[in-house]
């Protein structure tokens, strides 16, 4: 009876894992398949297959990709600068309002993207009105908005990283005469390193694929990749967009593999 129950449990888990893998894998495989259709409209079955869409990515989306890469890097830098100290502080110190700060740092995740984009846009206009600045439609405004939406990821992943790391080593270092800055640099930061790397990676991906903020906040002459893809789809429904998606997935996968080689992301992201 026990064996039968165990077998049922194993079968159910296997089935669920297979279903989950299919749910994630099938759309990816379909995207890959679509990206080699030799058709100007996505018609099935295609009359032939081609890899010609891939070289066309740079010509059609080169500038938006470069913009999104720069924006992603700036968002990572900003969110790490804010999120890592915030994560360490929330993890290692008890202070009044800690719960409120923790909730506040998560809040941007709970607001729908399009509403957040419009709200930030209106806020920037108000600041410009009051201060005579030119934040509206500037790259600085867009970067700040991206930092806002990516910081919660960094904070959470730093917290997750430190949750498995007791304070014993930090206390031991302090009792042996290490100054607080030395403890932070030599003990705490190495402990939180997987969280920093995973947080930076998440921040980059979230920034790179964000559409809603860019719709409101990009400056004239600047287009991010998601906006460019959306606009391309207004007039074309050819496999080029699928090729872009595959290239993007491949890039993220390579990044993940490289990072996992140096930092065990599995310790944090699970």
């Amino acid at each position: 009876m026990t064996d039968a129950l165990a077998w049922c449990e194993r079968s159910a888990v296997t089935a669920l894992v297979a279903a989950g893998a299919a749910l994630i894998g099938v759309p990816l495989l379909l995207t890959l398949y679509l990206s080699v259709f030799d058709e100007k409209l996505i018609l099935f079955p295609p009359h032939a297959y081609t890899l010609a869409w891939y070289p066309a990515i740079a010509a059609n989306f080169g500038a938006p990709i470069w913009t999104s890469l720069r924006l992603g890097c700036a968002a990572v830098a900003g969110s790490l600068a804010l999120g890592v100290p915030a994560g360490i502080g929330l993890s290692r110190h008890r202070f009044r309002g800690r719960g409120a700060v923790s909730t506040l740092l998560l809040a941007p995740l709970t607001v729908p993207g399009i509403a957040l984009g419009l709200a930030i846009y209106v806020a920037l206009i108000w600041i410009d009105e009051q201060a005579g600045s030119a934040l509206t439609g500037s790259m600085a405004g867009l970067v700040l908005a991206h930092v806002l939406i990516t910081t919660p990821w960094v904070v959470r992943l730093c917290l997750a990283s430190l949750a498995n790391h007791g304070r014993d080593t930090e206390e031991a270092a302090a009792s042996l005469g290490a100054r607080p800055a030395t403890v932070l640099w030599r003990v705490t930061l190495p402990a939180v390193r997987p969280g920093i790397v995973a947080g930076g990676l998440f921040a980059f991906v979230i920034s790179f694929e964000n559409l809603e903020l860019a719709l409101f906040l990009t400056s004239p002459g600047v287009t991010t990749l998601p906006v460019a893809v959306l606009q391309y789809l207004e007039y074309h429904i050819d496999p080029l967009v699928a090729a872009v998606a595959v290239a993007q997935m491949a890039g993220v996968a390579v990044l993940l593999l490289l990072l996992d080689r140096f930092v065990r992301l599995g310790r944090v992201v699970r």
């Binding site: 058709e39 100007k40 409209l41 996505i42 018609l43 099935f44 720069r70 890097c73 700036a74 830098a77 984009g117 419009l118 846009y121 209106v122 206009i125 410009d128 009105e129 030119a134 509206t136 439609g137 500037s138 790259m139 600085a140 970067v143 860019a214 719709l215 409101f216 990009t218 400056s219 004239p220 002459g221 600047v222 287009t223 906006v227 460019a228 959306l230 606009q231 391309y232 789809l233 207004e234 007039y235 074309h236 429904i237």
Partner: protein, 344 residues
């Protein structure tokens, strides 16, 4: 001085690069910022207006690419700023009417935009320059459909049961077409809704985007659809042979154009841009590549493009929507469509 480590060099380089990442792009003295759709539309603006007309006149055009609704929302939001971020905003005629009604855009006259005198009379508007337009037609695959429907009313016939496709994103325009069928005006929405419910009961198939209809045509899932003539032109150029039939009761027109916000930083350049927009060469360029019809009377189409986009004889009734009515009714019509058409 201690030797510089690789880490120091990288940190210094990052600091030096930061301004380039964060600062606004520097512009030439004479700049016209155009808030526009991207993709082919932006490319054709560059190829037909920015580079051949504005650039030689010493005006550097910067495109602010994005969707129409955020662009309209931004125009409303930045109305209090002494200087907005764009000189021209590309919008559909419905939003053109809304922005005009809200007194957010400059009135346009033949004095500041001389080519307005060539604009077709039905498309004229006090503060909106019509750039391109297209008619809503019944499209079909001529290889399969030998006797296409002549009117929207024909779509209720049993032979088209489950074989008609429409696009949900243009629901208000479809309802205007149904109103035109039932009462000869574009604003009898009660009659239009009644007709659409009957069409729904006859197996109407709905698609999220216009281009989603193409695979459905190809697979035989649908045999006729209701879309813009311009899109059928693009399909034909994409190797998918469809034909358009103007409904006998008349065809609703979609008009797209530009407005000049009152707080535009460079109005003189914007007036010049709008004038260039209506130049025959620019109008013909858009027709040749996108299948939209010229909005002016001095840009005749010739050759294959002229044949493909020719309005048939006898000339069908082409109907401009009542923008005052539709601009207010649109949210309710979309809401009704979502509740009654999408999931039934």
């Amino acid at each position: 001085m201690p030797p510089m480590s690789r880490r120091h060099v990288l940190a210094g380089a990052s600091l030096l690069a930061a301004p380039a990442l964060l600062t606004r792009r520097a512009h030439a003295a004479e700049t016209c910022v155009v808030g526009t759709w991207g993709g082919d539309y932006a490319r054709l603006l560059r190829e037909n207006i920015d580079d051949p007309i504005l650039k030689p006149a010493g005006i550097d055009v910067v495109q602010d690419v994005g969707d129409e609704q955020p662009r309209v929302a931004k125009t409303y939001a930045q109305r209090k700023l002494p200087h907005g971020t764009v000189d021209i905003a590309c919008v559909g005629a419905v939003n053109g009417y809304r922005l005009t009604d809200a007194d957010l855009v400059e009135p346009l006259t033949e004095e500041n935009v001389p080519n307005l005198k060539h604009v077709l009379p039905d498309l004229r508007s006090p503060a909106f320059v019509p750039h391109i337009y297209s008619a809503q037609v019944i499209v079909y695959n001529p290889e399969i459909v030998k006797a296409p429907p002549q009117s929207l009313a024909d779509l209720l016939a049993p032979e088209w049961k489950g074989k008609v496709g429409m696009v949900s994103t243009v629901a208000p325009w479809v309802l205007m077409a149904a109103s035109l069928l039932k009462s000869g005006t574009t604003t009898d929405f009660d009659a239009a809704k009644d007709f659409m419910l009957k069409l729904n009961a006859n197996g109407l198939r709905l698609y999220p985007e216009t281009d989603s209809l193409a695979p459905a045509f190809k697979s035989g899932e649908i045999e006729v659809g209701v879309i813009w003539l311009a899109r059928s032109f693009m399909w034909r150029n994409g190797g998918f042979p469809v034909k358009g039939q103007f409904p006998s009761e008349g065809a609703i027109l979609y008009v797209s154009g530009m407005v000049l916000p009152k707080n535009a930083p460079n109005k003189a350049a914007a007036f010049g841009y709008m004038n260039a927009l209506l130049a025959p060469s620019a109008q013909q360029g858009f027709a040749a590549h996108m299948g939209y019809l010229p909005t002016v009377d001095d840009a005749p189409l010739s050759g294959t493009v002229g044949e493909q986009l020719a309005i048939p004889e006898p000339r069908p009734k082409l109907v401009v929507p009542d923008y005052a009515v539709i601009s207010k009714a649109m949210p309710d019509l979309n809401d009704w469509w979502l509740k009654n058409m999408q999931h039934s």
